[in-house]
Symmetry: C2
Subunit: 340 residues, 2 copies
DNA sequence: AGCACCGTTGCACCCGGGTGCAAAGAGGGC
DNA sequence: GCCCTCTTTGCACCCGGGTGCAACGGTGCT
């Protein structure tokens, strides 16, 4: 009697019906025992819980989701694993989601698997929301008619959105570029330049444009913009090397503001180790994101820190419905270090 | 007639029954139309597919998983987001899983949410497998009786396992520490030290022990081991600072092998910028992992590169059943740079 | 013509749990 | 003792799609 039952137990997970049998009640009573504020006698609840414990029963969340129409899953789409900043963002995001008993489904967007397919796929999995942590796709991509069938609300994090249907939680580009600009003016820099990543990205254009506007207001027009095309450290170094090789010292910028820390670090390495320049003496650098590495003494990079924790909190507030979905942009703060 | 239908369409996703109605067949035929090699007339298949397309129908993967007992989801448990190396690992892992049409559920393990709870939770979600990317928990934790109820196979990646039920895919600690040791001997280093992360971790003890054993074989016993307790760059720097402050130059090690690149980078920064030491002149450093940052000219760190792509491929082979689950350990390669 | 056979289709019932409602039981007031 | 009410429980049926089997029709064969 012992062995066959064990065998069965091992092969198959206990279901509510099994527990009901063991506790001498109906399966619906088992269901109630696991539901907060359900009308059930305390005594039966305890009996059910004891039986459940004995059988190692835990409700099948899949089956539950089928009727409740809520999977407690949020798809997180990432298209730029080369940027180290994504890791702390994922950390904050998963932590914030888990506080609400939500879980992140991490989806890699690349050539094989574009954003539209990924969204449709996630929607088929009935996720409660889709968060785009992407950088290199275009807004227009999300306007594709195929996406109309998808029911999961779409959010973009740490970049702006021009689409009504896609709410964005980002860091205020105008305010941040003004903070950077004011700092540079105060330090006496007069020949600013910008280094940008993927060209397709509204955020890039945003930061770059706001930075240029800041200087245009002060009579400095036609700013240099080194377009790297990706957020890759190496690529930034190569682009920087090309710029330095092509430009005599007297014509160079005196400070380079980079669209993020990864670019700044690559560019800084090229300037220091490739061309023997002094930072910030010959050339100053500013990053964006406030990554951990920017704080390392080997870089000591002045950077604009995005208020990522607050941004993630807002985002999760919207996902769980505590906040009406809207596009919000928060202000971060400039962290001044030795690179300027 | 247009509006009400639209309203209904928007409120509710089309189901197989809806498509069946539209195509003039039964819902089972709809089902067949979406199944490869199902017995269905080509003509009906096309008719169904057209109707599905018209209605924006895509099968509900949740409902499917309920009967097929396969969710195509793999839980990935991470407990150390401070280590930048986790990002490329996640990249490789999600990419490899997606190639098999599997998706990663990313779960954050911390104080609020321990490994056991996370595994049970993932199991309730009926994931097909659980991959532990953890470092700071103990093997014994996984022996807890509560886990017996869980049916999902457990794997650990990039660390060893002493449990039969938990298969590990890791990088050969003995071989890697021998490669490092031989390199150091060839370069003439005679006073080696080791810097380790979390004490609870079998991998740490493994690498540290193998490295010590290598030198013991050559008559150098009682090796220094600086235990940092975490894999944090800053903590490593502080531990290094304390060591350098407490040890006169003549008594110091001449090379420090660190349990991973994050520690090496922190320790190296403390040595160079905190104490003005020359690397590798006064003190040499070796890392482990082969992170991108180790290649940056600002660090130029000699490091042992784990064959992560191959490891991930093996792991996924086991998950999809192409390979029988066993514990495997692969060999990586030493990347020699300027820090030794 | 009669038969078997195959491709094709429909159906009953399953997966595991959730909902709304009705019935059963307990308790109180008259 | 009766009735009414409230708590507790059971039940039918649902979520959306998957399985095994039976029945259907047409073909090719004898």
């Amino acid at each position: 009697m012992g062995l066959p039952m064990r065998g069965a137990d091992l092969a198959r997970k206990a279901t509510a019906t099994d527990v009901a049998l063991a506790a001498g009640v109906s399966k619906w009573t088992v269901n109630r025992a696991f539901k907060k504020d359900a009308p059930i006698a305390e005594e039966s609840r305890l009996r059910v819980l004891a039986a459940a414990d004995r059988l190692g029963y835990r409700p099948n969340l899949l089956a539950r989701s089928l009727t409740t129409k809520s999977t407690q899953q949020v798809a997180v789409l990432v298209d730029d694993f080369a940027n180290p900043h994504k890791l702390p963002v994922l950390h904050l995001l998963t932590a914030a989601l888990q506080r609400e008993r939500l879980v992140a489904v991490l989806v890699n967007i690349d050539e094989q698997n574009g954003p539209v397919d990924a969204i449709l796929d996630a929607d088929q999995r009935q996720v409660d929301a889709v968060v785009l942590l992407g950088t290199s796709f275009r807004d227009e991509t999300l306007r594709q008619p195929a996406l109309n069938a998808a029911r999961a609300p779409l959010y973009v994090l740490a970049r702006e959105s021009t689409l009504d249907a896609v709410k964005a939680v980002s860091c205020d580009a105008a305010a941040s570029m003004e903070a950077v600009g004011l700092h540079l003016v105060a330090r006496g820099y007069r020949r600013p330049g910008f280094m940008s990543g993927p060209r397709t990205l509204s955020t890039v254009l945003g930061r770059s444009r706001h930075f240029a506007a800041f200087w245009a207001d002060r009579g400095i027009e036609a700013m240099l913009d080194i377009a790297v095309g990706t957020y890759d450290r190496r690529a930034a170094g190569e682009a920087m090397g090309r710029y330095l090789a092509a430009t005599p010292a007297s014509d160079r910028v005196d400070v380079l503001v980079c669209e993020n820390d990864a670019l700044a670090i690559g560019a800084m390495d090229a300037a220091r180790f490739g061309c023997g320049l002094d930072v910030p003496g010959d050339l100053a650098f500013v990053g964006y994101d406030g990554t951990d590495l920017a704080a390392a003494p080997a870089y000591d990079l002045t950077t604009y820190e995005q208020p990522m924790a607050a941004m993630v909190d807002r985002l999760v507030d919207m996902i769980v419905g505590r906040l009406d979905p809207t596009t919000v942009s928060l202000e971060g703060r400039l962290v001044v270090r030795g690179s300027t």
